[in-house]
């Protein structure tokens, strides 16, 4: 019964949710809305379990003096301070200006988040360097396409091509070409075609996985095995 009841619930609820997509009548939409609200409550309980795990894992590392344990001490202290301030000091006003919770959010969380996000620029540079190394015909194609798209997305791209064309004295018909048009074609046609093919395949995968879960064929999420 430990597995049969969850499987039955999954099948029934999955069926209701699929039906609510096609049947807008309140007999389908009201239960579907109610189930989605129930999911929010379940998630709220999940956060309690998650918070307990954060304490357990990090306190364990602190007491056993694992490597870099002082960082875990900072994490636990930060979690406790934020929790206590939110629960006992700010309560329902934790988003109001001037509250300690909002100060923590504005002056600690937001700058740290922005710092992490800013690192992305450096990661993109290093990844692009590797991506555009021409080692094969496919890599060469990728590098050329990327170069056209990058140049075509900035006004300097068209200006540079115009200068080269003027200097080289190419025929008049070719002078009308613009690199921005070429990059738009790359984005609209080959890029879009490949992207849509991946999306259609992924959508099939989504439906297949959903069907397997609803039918109880895919049951690894229950803890594996039969």
């Amino acid at each position: 019964m430990r597995r049969e009841i969850p499987l039955l619930l999954t099948a029934v609820i999955g069926g209701i949710m699929i039906a609510s997509f096609f049947v807008p009548h309140e007999w389908a939409s009201v239960p579907a809305d109610y189930l989605q609200q129930c999911a929010v409550i379940v998630v709220a309980f999940g956060y309690v379990l998650g918070g307990a795990n954060v304490f357990r894992v990090n306190l364990d590392a602190i007491f056993k003096r694992h490597r870099d344990w002082p960082y875990k001490l900072v994490l636990v202290a930060g979690l406790l301070v934020t929790l206590i301030l939110g629960l006992f000091v700010d309560r329902a006003r934790f988003q109001d200006p001037g509250t300690p919770s909002l100060w923590i959010y504005d002056h600690l969380y937001v700058p740290m988040n922005a710092t992490m996000f800013a690192l992305l620029a450096f990661f993109i540079a290093s990844a692009a360097f590797r991506a555009f190394r021409i080692r094969s015909a496919e890599a060469a194609l990728l590098a050329v396409a990327a170069l056209i798209v990058m140049l075509g997305r900035v006004p300097a791209g068209d200006a540079m091509l115009r200068a080269i064309v003027d200097h080289a004295g190419v025929p008049h018909a070719i002078r009308a070409w613009r690199i921005s048009d070429l990059q738009q074609w790359i984005m609209d046609v080959p890029q879009n075609a490949a992207k849509r093919a991946i999306l259609i395949g992924a959508a099939m995968g989504v439906m297949a996985t959903g069907l397997r879960v609803i039918l109880g064929i895919e049951r690894a999420y229950l803890g594996g095995g039969d």
Partner: protein, 392 residues
Amino acid sequence: MGACVVAVLAAAVLSGVPPALAAAPAVADSVPAPQPASGLLFSDVPNDAGRAIDLHWALSPDDSVRNGRVVGYRLERAPSPAGPWAPVDSVGAGTSTTTDGSVERNTPYFYRVSACGPGGVTPSGACAGPAIARSSWFNTTRASVLAFTVLFFLLVLYYMFLAQTGRKPFVRRLAGIDAIEEAIGRATEMGRPVLYVPGIQDIDDIQTVAGLVILESVARMTARYGTPIRVPVAYPIPFTIAQEVVRSAYLQGGVPDAYDPNSVSFVSPEQFAYVAAVTGIMLRDRPAAHVFMGSFYGESLMLAETGFETGAIQIAGTANVPQLPFFVVACDYTLIGEELFAASAYLSGDARLIGGLKGADVLKVAIVAVVIVGCVLETLGHHGLTVWMQTQ
């Protein structure tokens, strides 16, 4: 004149006309009230849950840019023709339709429209009603989706049945999946852990489900090899599922004592807090294999690039198309789109799951055929198929 402008604005605000409508030419003392709008018609919005009514009326004869007598229309509704009237919506001059999306289903409403201008507000002579919003039993615009869904389910079930009777379909090798065991073997030889990241989305994203399903196979391998596994999870529900999946995998692997309760940890749903934690694990614990399976966004490159710097074998899989190039660049193997969803069938070898893959492939062929037929029909000027495929 200034006093007139203030008076018009005040009157407009008090009468419920939005400021945009009230900003009419300041000639209230010389402009007469507009003639009323007429012919108010209503209709129940089709294919919905009985929550909206469409309204349409004929513009006031004074509604033209030249004379400026009409700046907009105000819609009101009441439970009976006698009132009380409550404002529903305000629209600008020249607009003759709106939708009341705040109705209760199966409840009669009466509507009236008033033309508003600098010279005053003129209600229409008659109200329209009773308008009743009723819920539909079937959203006809989704008939095409239903047809393909039913076809898909039938195909999958048919090929699952065939596979169960012994006709197991051929599945091509997926290098990325084959590499998982190789990567875990390498981690075992090096005495380092395996890092498994099941995406950064909650359980309502089917990619997270796929990532957790693959986790079961990966955890079974780590249990078999006696290799530690680290699974940082971003949301609490996937966290509890991941805990159960890994614990069961060790139990079924015959090594329940080897299961470390701290191997699966809840981190944070905040994207970059999660990145900081996972990259910290990469740099401190130096896992020899990183497996990223699930839904990823802007953090994908940060995770994969940091992992690349540590020299670990990296295998990624996602259906989020914008993140695929990042994984392709920074990882050794990448499962693209549907391969992520096929991985669990591939890893488990379950005939029913593999049969499901065949059903999905057949439907893809059908979709390609429909796309080609649609292109031909559109070229010939027949739009029926295109219209049928459009959904709301």
